[in-house]
């Protein structure tokens, strides 16, 4: 079947510091050596992916007052790895998470503008916010930001960064050796702003980069996060990868764009997705079970349960029944530095649901955790996975996917070799890069200097 509908966008997420990443497999390589990053980036570029994505966390996670040791721990500096990857790739977009709370606009804008120059227009910024004093302990200002101001800080930070990106107009550098005119303007980079978060003024010192502004990603799922994305982002990194959840999220966020004078193609919805690929669907299902067992060891099952129960459960047997006590409804103290714990809005109710499910299915704690956490998005043969991805995109559940392999660094190799060609045959995925910049890959208009638009006001 050949359906020339929407084009699918695909990106690769370097395996992260959570239990999706299987470090215990004999094929699992280093999470820190540059060779691993280069391998995944080259695979993604060979497969004509839109971009490679790096996450970030600015404090090592803790559980029960100790550094969490069951998942991959440790990662490199985002900007530095992306700049180095620009040397070993030529088209692949380079996207990184950078925090708007524990950074300042002048420095971050310099770093992204530099990355964009050094990559020939391939930089993207996933703007995240944090507010916790736990992370703040690593930074000059500590936990200075109240939780309810974090999106305001992020919006303001981004607005300030845009002002800096736009402070050179792209025509400033003449560099005419004969006349001796290097600059067309005496005051390139001039900027000034004063708001609740930033009172800054002066001259930005990086000339306008190939994309003008890096592509902006947003990843938060809250009401405020969705609104932030609708107002300011070029792409949203969501967690809704199934048909119904995806369609609901897609409709919701795209529906918010008009309020900001934006059209539906100005914001791409790209859920994170995992995959398990094998020759046949049956083999893939079997492999998926094995991967889940690798992802959720007995110790990991206990740790996950502790994140819901908000209690020390180290005395429980992961191969036995669920804890008989109820979760501690008080302030969350067990797991720190982990955003996912905030997902449990009703821990006692969730625990009740889990117990019921375990009883019906005769599941141990570990089996239950395998059931209720992080199921693989795509499991099947290459044809099955290609079909599923394409159908979700054509059904407006997403504009594509950010794929998270469970093995480092080779976890994308087979997908590149076996699934991508099928999507290409169906005419829904590029066979060559048409452009050189990430904005071009994503079908986004070049960032001109819309000083009149709401996006650069402030």
């Amino acid at each position: 079947m050949s359906t020339h509908g929407k084009q699918v966008h695909l990106a690769a997420h370097f395996p992260g510091v959570n239990n999706t990443t299987v470090w215990s497999d004999p094929r699992a390589g280093s999470h820190i050596d540059f060779a691993s990053f280069a391998h995944l980036a080259r695979t993604a570029e060979r497969a004509k992916f839109d971009f490679l994505f790096l996450a970030e966390g600015l404090r090592l996670r803790e559980q029960n007052g100790q550094i969490y040791d069951l998942d991959v721990v440790g990662r490199p500096d985002t900007f530095t790895v992306l700049a180095a990857l620009a040397a070993v790739t030529s088209r692949l977009g380079l996207a990184g998470t950078i925090n708007s709370t524990f950074n300042e606009p002048y420095e971050v804008a310099r770093q992204f503008a530099t990355l964009d120059h050094l990559s020939g227009g391939r930089a993207a910024w996933n703007v995240v916010t944090s507010w916790d004093a736990f992370t703040g302990e690593n930074f000059r200002r500590g936990g200075f930001l109240p939780q309810d101001q974090r999106y305001e800080r992020a919006r303001t930070f981004l607005s300030a960064a845009w002002q800096l990106f736009d402070s050179w107009d792209g025509q400033d550098i003449v560099a005419d050796q004969r006349s001796g005119v290097f600059l067309a303007d005496q005051d390139p980079g001039e900027f000034s702003r004063s708001d609740r978060h930033f009172q800054i003024a002066g001259r930005f010192n990086v000339p306008r980069s190939p994309q003008g502004r890096p592509v902006i990603f947003q990843a938060g799922d809250s009401e405020e996060g969705r609104e932030f994305a609708a107002s300011s982002a070029d792409a949203i990194f969501s967690r809704h990868s199934t048909l119904r959840d995806g369609q609901a999220f897609y409709a919701d966020v795209k529906g918010r764009l008009a309020r900001y004078g934006r059209t539906r193609d100005q914001l791409l919805i790209l859920p994170a997705a995992t995959f398990v690929l094998a020759d046949t669907d049956e083999q893939a299902a079997e492999l998926a079970r094995e991967v889940r067992l690798q992802q959720v060891s007995g110790a990991t099952a206990i740790a996950f349960a502790e994140q819901l129960w908000n209690r020390d459960l180290s005395g429980y047997d992961p191969d036995g029944p669920l804890p008989d006590v109820d979760p501690d409804p008080g302030e969350h103290t067990v797991a720190r530095g982990r955003a996912s714990v905030r997902m449990y809005t009703d821990p006692v109710g969730t625990a009740r649901t889990w117990r019921a499910r375990a009883e019906v299915g005769k599941l141990s704690l570990r089996e239950l955790i395998i059931e209720v956490t992080g199921r693989q998005s795509f499991v099947g043969s290459p044809a099955t996975i290609a079909t599923a991805i394409n159908e979700l995109v054509q059904a407006d559940a997403s504009d594509g996917f950010i794929l998270v392999p469970h093995l480092t660094p080779g976890g994308l190799d087979e997908f590149a070799d076996r699934v991508v060609p099928l999507l290409q045959e169906r005419g829904v995925f590029r066979t060559e890069y048409a452009g050189t910049t990430l904005r071009e890959h994503l079908g986004l208009a070049a960032a001109d200097r819309p000083l009149t638009s709401a996006r650069s006001a402030g």
Binding site: S24, I67, A86, E107, L118, F182, G202
Partner: protein, 385 residues
Amino acid sequence: MEDTMHLGIALEGAGWHPAAWREPDARPAELFSAGYWTDLVTEAERGLADFVTFEDGLSLQSTLADRPDRRTDQVRGRLDAVLVAARVAPLTRHIGLIPTVVATHTEPFHNSKAIATLDYVSTGRAGVRVRISARPDEAAHFGRRDGRPQAVDLLDEAADYVEVTRRLWDSWEDDAEIRHLPTGRFIDRDKLHYIDFQGRWFSVKGPSITPRPPQGQPLVAALGHGDLAYWLIGRAADLAFVTPRDPDEADAAVAGIRAAQAAVGRADDTLLVLADLVVFLDDEPGKAAARLARLNEVAGLDYASDAAIFAGPPTQLADLMTGWAASTGLSGFRLRPAAIPHDLAAITRGLVPELQRRGVRPPGYQASTLRGHFGLARPANRYAA
């Protein structure tokens, strides 16, 4: 090689002379491209330099000390130095990469992981040159400091910044990653350490999010012109760049640094002192001086520098360098090519072969890490039991 003279090259824009970008072989329109910097570092590596440095600052270049000068006839604008170093790292094999960071306005936690990561992407060739900024225009870019800071405070803060950077590099022991299947543990968390730094300027908890870098401790460098900066160097640096005009000044600088080192109990630590020289190099006698005069005329100024300026043939520069190195406590030089590519190529293709003939530069790289180029072993971890 006991009598090896260490050699670094200070990269800056189109060269250190303000009119360098006007030279016919200059590439002023490419100063913000990866290809330009790759070519420069590749050339420096061809000349077997121990390292290159990358200048940086958080304001537009200016001839004025406190504000933009609004000039349109000189190079303005620059890329982030750490990222330029990272961009060239995978394309080079041996040369050390020392970007500049401004301690005054940046986070030691970010800096530590950035330089550790530069060490990973270069497989052990990273260093960092730390500087301060007292410029009010630079402070206004951040809006977080009021008033006119005292240099002594900024230097004290920079010393703490280096201390935090270094502790974070050691905050993971080398064998912290265990991948222990029976217990499901990826790391032995007893081998990760909170640094618990509490100082006058900031507090940092740790550990780093980045494991200990390949060199353990990348090299920390600083440029100093007098006792205040020597105090920072004595407290914090492995490499010092100084700006003597003659051997006596070189000895005075070395003595100042040794005194500062002793005062903080670091007398036994290796701290190498290199002299900065701005160089205009041409084989033909008189030609380099004529070129300097011509560039001055183009720029409409008499070029002055904090460092001594040498204009002459490479053989004569080799005389000067070997003479100073033999009679002073200097361990080598950091050369600032006045015009790029001309003076850079004159260093790598003229001066270096001359120094090799005199037996003070090796015939090839003897090591593949920056520490290795200075004969420094990988240090023990301060937190290891």
